[in-house]
Symmetry: D2
């Protein structure tokens, strides 16, 4: 039985660099929380620091979540939407900014404790570089590791999950793909540091999502969290899950079962021009569709297909799903 | 009722630059023709000049095809597998090579006439360039246009269909995508010059296949021929159709109906490590699956979805196909 | 002697979807105009409708430009930064929006006339689609052609230049690459409709920029305008020109000379985290560096290299530039 | 002072899947060895098992190398050009093939010892998968680790360097990028297992080459070997070094100095249509050009640029190199 969640802000307004006021109107926090609770299967939301949750509004957010029967799956500290992070947070060349990035992380951990939330999802989107000869490739990854280690030591009851992405908003992210992020996580030496797979970041990074999940699991049980969305493999389009890909998601979810992943399946989209609630519901229903498909008999079939490794068998099986009623 | 064909050589041995002897053994021509005939729905094969068909063996090939009840959907002149074409065929800087490229085309047209085949599929794979400052961007496209025009004038009863591909074996092809190839076709001024969409070339070129098909149809009825295969969008992997993508093929086939395409649906793969006949059959069965899906009621549904343009409706429809028995 | 210009807004604040308030502060229009005038070689600016120029402020902008000795290279109607265009401007499914898109174009043409500006650069960024089965591939391109034709007929003294881009803000643009945009331009049947190459859009679209320029020139003298910026070939990073690529820009500028392009060389960047004026100056200086390099002797050398087409000669020449003082 | 080498086979004939007989003629081994020795700066060659070196011809190859004053930089066991490896070598589902893959590695190690060569460069090109649900993502990486560990234990005096590549000949390689390959190397627990960066594989994998080198150095001194070639970032085009990129190679070589890399700088190309010796010489001369550029003063300048991280400074410096004589 899968636990679904969504990132709360997905239900709000979304902008891009050409339409900075956004494509839609911004609903109230309570409206968004209510909408999340109305999506069947959704048990929790993820909250972004500053945007959604602060020291000031935590009581209110907590009680609103309770009112609608939702938990908090993770808090995502805001290391991306403020000018001070523009040239990097954990990897800023300015030590005072780096200190603030750590502080922001610790603040989020405190808020998480208060909400009974076990995961801090770190997506330091501004950490990376744009130009050749801009980054100190040695120091900057080390600074990131040290900061994550400090936070993890200070909050041993919280799991810090590092979310990678190949690019955007920088042309190169410090944490770009599963394997390099796993190296960072392992280098901290902390059992409570792991990795988040965002399916769209993985696709855009040229990964096979299932392979990334298995690698994280097998090299130290480091798959901590999952974000779901879809795209055309070249950019983080943040589309409705299953709107482009199908078989890859089955392979991912098959392997999540095999490795015993029991964390959240969280939706993370940018429905720029769509109704937010409907777009999120569509994604949840797609993932639920695969969840239902993967019964014991199907898992056995798929194991047999992998054991043989013959694309003829795989495509026969796939056609039997795609064209079921023929 | 769709007419299916396959490229005969797909049933044979396939090599790459690392394993030049190929991954499999080479069956006899008759074995391959028999195997093609055994795939339900396949009515014809495409033959490659030199590899499959020559002035010398045309009688034999013709009678073997007849024996197995197959037609010839197209002839593909060999402008790629001989050393003389290494630096270009129609766009070679050597005028004698360019003359030979035209001659090879005309020979193929004569063979086609004898076999009752109406299409010459031109894929001049070596036409293009690898390096910056290597191509004369003005002359080379012009040479190509002139040669195609000459052949089309000499054989007005034959349709010459230009197959584009973004790269490979050159790093840049002279005919790279649908629109630039359409410009070449139109520039010849000949009604019997059109364009072939290879679905894999289209995907690797960053196109939406359906959009490419509609553009060719609407700007002069220039969609002449179709090659089917699948890939991961970054390279011409030549995989089993439907092994990666699904909804894109439905969109393509929906629009092929809308524009009234009545040519061949031809399979073109490189089943390097798979049983050739099974791999081709898998592709045909996938396309047949979509053919059956696109009944009148479904076409109406899809028209309505397009008219609204709402991804919520589209993904709802798609889930109803993917998870039909829930 | 090349005429340089810049897009005025490049000197202002720039935002993205994660930092919608922008990375910098917004200077006044006069400050930006003064800064533009201080970049040696820059003779004009491009102005974006709504952002930079309106019926209301045209007198003021005109006199400020005059004060600093700058002309107006083009006006770019705002078809992208307002909510009403969110689901398309010229290709909106709503006819009243389409009418507004044409009206916006005509308004820009009137403003252009008043400023003595000869080019309307059309970048209808919201025209395209995100999802499979969202676009009517037949109608939408036709709507675009009709609107552009109407505007071009109404303002025969103005040149309408269509700027293509493969994606962003939509996952697929209606005008994606040079060749398909050329088809649109030609289909209007109007001599005053042509195409803009944005070098970054071309690189991200998998084109060779020089080849695109030659194609536009040779198929009807349709290269009307140029935007310069750089990126890593996978996305419109809008970086300083020459920060990533070098030889490709030489090839482009060599061919611009060969085809006799005499329009603007306009800089178009998003210096998110850099000093705007310095970033634009760096780009202008790079292009000027190549302008100076391409003297008569060098043009002759390059013609000879192309005539032979041997990468050994090309790379020898290139090394002689890169390592000149050895 | 850099030690240059080349892969011997680069001087021979090269084929692709469309022209399997190859674009050129095959010279004798002695001719190729002589040609290598004639390229100024080249001190050694890399030899491919089976293609170049076997138990049978080792004496002859050894004495020919000695005659021309060349050493052997590495041996690359043939895990890619024989039918038996078609469905994988170290990751074959057939245990007897896996045993043969290890045996081939050990044979190469013995040959290396005899030639006084310290590196086995492992590029198991067939290890990976093509289709979804084809690979057992858990077992196959483990099999690879175990085999490499076994070889490394058996030959502690030899360094085993793992060469990654995102795809080709499989659509997905087991060792795809620097970070995942580093995880494999570290998981063996052997100090004599490290990683090879092929610059073209790195570019095609979306990496910054310099960052990959620093990561390998800093996470356990694991950068063992380097292959140089160039491409357009989307595929392993194996072109002349510096024919496309420039600044990236400076950044790479700057950082190689910073991390104290003292291994081989080996050229690895596929000059399909070019004179092999000239193409290799062009690459060596390009790398030597950067070697000469990176004197103490320049290294200091570049360190200062990185310390500030300002693209304005970087591009100013770059223009001073590109347009030196202005």
């Amino acid at each position: 039985m899968i636990n679904y969640s969504i990132i709360l802000g997905n239900l709000g307004n979304t902008c891009d660099r050409f339409l900075s006021s956004g494509y839609k109107d911004q609903p109230s926090k309570e409206t968004m929380i209510r909408q999340a609770s109305e999506i069947k299967g959704v048990k929790a939301v993820e909250l972004v620091g500053t945007w959604d949750i602060t020291r000031e509004n935590i009581e209110e957010i907590g009680s609103t979540l309770a009112k609608y029967g939702l938990g908090c799956a993770s808090i995502i500290p805001d290391h991306f939407s403020q000018k001070r992070w523009g040239k990097g947070a954990f990897t800023s060349k300015d030590p005072s900014i780096r200190a603030q990035a750590l502080e922001e992380t610790c603040t989020a951990a405190e808020l998480a404790r208060k909400l009974g939330c076990g995961i801090i999802n770190l997506w330091p989107g501004q950490d990376g570089y744009d130009y050749i000869f801009q980054a100190d490739h040695r120091l900057e990854r080390r600074w990131l590791i040290d900061a994550v280690q400090s936070a993890a030591k200070a909050y041993p009851d919280i799991r810090f999950s590092l979310e990678y992405k190949p690019k955007e908003p920088r042309t190169h992210s410090t944490m770009a793909r599963a394997a390099d992020t796993l190296l960072v996580a392992r280098e901290t030496g902390m059992p409570n540091v792991g990795v988040t797979i965002d399916t769209g970041h993985s696709l855009a990074g040229g990964e096979n999502m299932a392979e990334a999940a298995v690698m994280l699991a097998d090299f130290g049980s480091k798959l901590f969290h999952l974000h779901f969305n879809d795209n055309y493999r070249s950019w983080d389009d943040d589309m409705i899950v299953g709107s482009v890909h199908f078989a890859e998601y089955i392979e991912l979810m098959f392997w999540l079962k095999e490795i015993g992943y029991d964390g959240w399946y969280s939706m993370d989209q940018y429905p720029y021009r769509e109704d937010g609630q409907e777009a999120l519901r569509a994604s949840v229903e797609f993932v639920q569709g695969i969840e239902a498909m993967l019964d014991d008999a199907t898992v056995k079939e798929l194991r047999a297909i992998i054991a043989i490794g013959d694309p003829i068998e795989y495509t026969r099986w796939l056609r039997s799903k795609l064209f079921r009623n023929r």
